[in-house]
C-alpha cells in the first residue's frame, strides 16, 4: 500500500498517469454534459412557479457546487503540502485555483441571470451572493500571491497559508441561507432528506453535477502536469522528456 502510494506520488509516474487518465474523465464529462443538457432543457417539465426560467439551475447548481468543492480540495491539498512537504500536493492546490475561480465566476454569472427575472435585480448585497463573491476574491488573492513569488517553493508555502485561512468562508457560504434571511432559496437536494424536487427535474441535475465534476478532474490533471514540470525542471526525467520533444 505504501509502496504503491509512493510510486503514485513520484513525479514522473504521476505525470505519465495524469496523461493516461485524462481522457477517461474528459470524454465521459462531455457525453454526460450533452445528456444532462438535453434532459434539463427538453425532458424536464417547466416549474409550476418559475416556468422555463428554472432551467438555469442545470448550470448554476453544478458550478456553485464546484466553486466550494474545488476550494475545499485546494485547501486540503495545500495543508497536506505544508505539513508533509509533498510537492505534488502543492502542485494540485496551485492547479485547482484557476479552475475554481472560473466556476465561481460562472456560479455568480448564472446566479445574476437567475436573479433578474426571479427577484427583479441582477445583483443584491445578499449574504449568499456576497459570500460567494468573497470566495472569488479569495481565489484571485491566492493566484496573485503565487504570481508574486519568483521561487515556486516560497509561493507554495505562502499561498498554502492563505488557502487554509480562506476555508472560514466555506461554512459562511453554506449556511448563509439559513443564518440570515436571504433572497436565495434553501437547498433543493438534502443529504439526509428526500429531495424537494421531482424526479424528472432531479436526474438531469445530478447528471450535470457529475459531468461538471469529471470535467474539473480532467482539467485539473492537465494543469497538474504543467505544475509538476515546473517543479521538476532540473531533474533527469524532465530533461529527457523535453529533449525527446525538441
Amino acid at each position: 500500500m505504501w509502496t504503491w502510494f509512493h510510486k503514485l506520488a513520484s513525479p514522473p509516474h504521476f505525470y505519465r498517469m495524469a496523461g493516461l487518465l485524462r481522457p477517461w474523465f474528459f470524454w465521459p464529462a462531455v457525453i454526460l454534459t450533452v445528456i444532462g443538457t438535453y434532459g434539463g432543457l427538453v425532458l424536464a417539465p417547466p416549474d409550476y412557479q418559475m416556468g422555463d426560467g428554472f432551467r438555469i439551475i442545470y448550470v448554476h447548481v453544478p458550478s456553485a457546487y464546484l466553486s466550494t468543492t474545488i476550494y475545499g480540495l485546494m485547501a486540503v491539498a495545500a495543508a497536506v503540502g505544508l505539513i508533509w512537504r509533498i510537492k505534488l500536493a502543492h502542485a494540485v492546490a496551485a492547479s485547482a485555483a484557476p479552475i475554481g475561480a472560473s466556476f465561481t465566476a460562472l456560479a455568480l454569472g448564472t446566479g445574476m441571470l437567475w436573479g433578474k427575472p426571479m427577484w427583479g435585480a441582477y445583483w443584491a448585497w445578499d449574504p449568499r451572493l456576497t459570500s460567494e463573491l468573497i470566495l472569488l476574491f479569495i481565489y484571485f488573492g491566492y493566484m496573485s500571491l503565487r504570481a508574486s513569488f519568483e521561487d515556486v517553493n516560497k509561493a507554495d508555502r505562502a499561498s498554502a497559508v492563505l488557502a487554509i485561512v480562506g476555508v472560514i468562508n466555506l461554512p459562511i457560504i453554506h449556511y448563509s441561507v439559513i443564518w440570515w434571511s436571504s433572497l436565495h432559496q434553501g437547498p433543493s437536494i438534502k443529504k439526509l432528506d428526500a429531495p424537494s424536487i421531482t424526479g424528472d427535474m432531479l436526474w438531469p441535475l445530478l447528471i450535470m453535477i457529475l459531468a461538471f465534476t469529471l470535467f474539473f478532474a480532467a482539467i485539473l490533471l492537465y494543469r497538474v502536469k504543467a505544475e509538476v514540470l515546473d517543479r521538476e525542471q532540473n531533474s533527469r526525467w524532465v530533461r529527457d522528456l523535453v529533449s525527446g520533444e525538441v
Partner: protein
Amino acid sequence: MADFLAMGGYAEFVWSSFGLTAIVMVFNVIAARRRLRVSLERISTRVAHQVRTAPLQQANGKEAIES
C-alpha cells in the same frame, strides 16, 4: 421549435446562462493546454541552451562553476 427557443419568455436568461457555461468550459480547456505548452517550451529552451553552453563551461572549468 420556436416554442422551445422562447423558453416560456425566459429565453435571454436561459440561453445566456448556457452560453456563459459553454464559454467557461472552452476557456478552461484552452487555458490548461496553453499552460502546459508554455511550460514545455520554456523548459526545452532552457535545456537546449544548457546543452549548447555545456562544452564552454567545461573549458572554463572553475569560473563557470563559481558564476
